[in-house]
């Protein structure tokens, strides 16, 4: 039996590199939107040695090494947790904008 899915890539993996850190991007599924953008679906995870961001849907731009999500997202670092209605990560991961209603908890 052949299973036909709409998924272009299973378990895609990318990385964002900057001078301070390397951010690994993983998901369960990926669909190419064009040459630069890929829609990452299900258990999308951004992980560096400083933080993680978990969400369900992200558009990742391979050329700019940026990503935008309008799904509920949770950022976690050593003593910080940020919940938001989405995020935009740019400048090679140095800058993150948490979109919409957002909540930060500092320990």
């Amino acid at each position: 039996m052949n299973l036909v899915t709409n998924v272009d890539v299973s378990e895609p993996k990318f990385s964002i590199n900057n001078s301070n850190q390397k951010i690994f991007v993983t998901a369960q599924e990926g669909n190419f939107l064009d040459n630069e953008n890929i829609l990452l679906n299900k258990k999308v995870l951004f992980k560096s040695n400083k933080f993680t961001i978990e969400t369900e849907k992200v558009i990742f731009n391979r050329k700019n090494q940026s990503a935008i999500s309008k799904s509920m997202s949770v950022f976690k670092s050593d003593k910080t947790k940020i919940s938001s209605e989405g995020f935009n990560i740019y400048d090679q991961g140095n800058k993150i904008i948490f979109l919409g209603n957002s909540k930060v908890v500092l320990r």
């Binding site: 910080t80 940020i82 140095n94 800058k95 979109l99 209603n101 930060v104 908890v105 500092l106």
Partner: protein, 254 residues
């Protein structure tokens, strides 16, 4: 059984209402947060609320600067209808901008109708109010600057000085008031008017310069220069032109 259900409901309700745990700082914003890792900065937009064990701050746009990591708050720069309340420091502040340096315990309130209350001392200004809790210094600058405490009322365009603590009571230990129109100071029933009024706790002396007027219950004296000794409650007035000193003695029975 009913008691158990009620207890469970109360626990669920209390944890959902009071989400913040002891030692945590909770920050909420309606229009997102920008995090700048290199600059160690969070920029928060629209109806921002910061709640910690020590204080609650509300503002429209708030920048939070961190020290080493993005969790140890160094400075808060809040703009737009800002209010700050700290029960620990018995402090209330409101203004257009509030700048709060946590480690240095320094607060700056700016804008029209700025207000800063620390314990029983109230400070008002349409310009800027700056207080450092560590060295006790204060500086009010701008129109309608006023400082009120239990025994003092001070008004001037520039009110600078320092507080000291005596028997856990906050009192003014040095003072420098200036207003090109006229400064005003009332203490223990005596009113003082001058362009410049200074006070030093060590000398226990008020010094008044230019357009001086000292008004007590029984008399009013005017001149160009005056001093008031707070220990003996006596005052002297001099004038550049000695003929200009004027004393108005009021009949106590009037």
């Amino acid at each position: 059984m009913i008691k158990l259900i009620v207890t469970i409901i109360l626990i669920i309700f209390s944890t959902s209402v009071h989400g913040r745990e002891l030692g945590q700082t909770e920050i909420t914003a309606e229009d997102g947060i920008e995090g700048f890792q290199d600059e160690k900065l969070y920029l928060l937009k629209k109806n921002v609320k910061i709640e910690s064990d020590n204080f609650i701050l509300l503002g429209d746009i708030v920048k939070i600067f961190f020290d080493k990591d993005l969790n140890d708050i160094k400075t808060i720069d809040a703009n737009g209808n800002v209010s700050l309340e700290s029960t620990e420091y018995k402090l209330k502040a409101s203004g257009t901008n509030v700048f709060f340096i946590l480690a240095e315990e320094e607060i700056i309130v700016e804008g029209m109708n700025s207000l800063l209350i620390i314990e029983d001392t109230e400070m008002y200004s349409d310009g800027k109010i700056k207080v450092n809790n560590i060295d006790g210094s204060f500086n009010l600058a701008g129109n309608n600057s006023k400082l009120k405490s239990e025994n003092n009322f001070i008004k001037g365009k520039s009110i600078k000085g320092s507080f000291s603590s005596f028997n856990k009571e906050r009192e003014v230990s040095s003072l420098n008031v200036f207003d090109e129109k006229l400064s005003y100071l009332k203490t223990n029933g005596t009113e003082m008017f001058a362009n410049k009024i200074t006070y030093n706790k060590e000398s226990a002396l008020f010094e008044l310069e230019d357009n001086v007027k000292i008004k007590s219950e029984t008399e009013t004296i005017t001149g160009d220069y005056g001093t008031l000794d707070t220990i003996t409650n006596s005052y002297k007035i001099k004038s550049k032109n000695s003929k200009r000193v004027k004393v108005l003695i009021l009949d106590a029975n009037e």
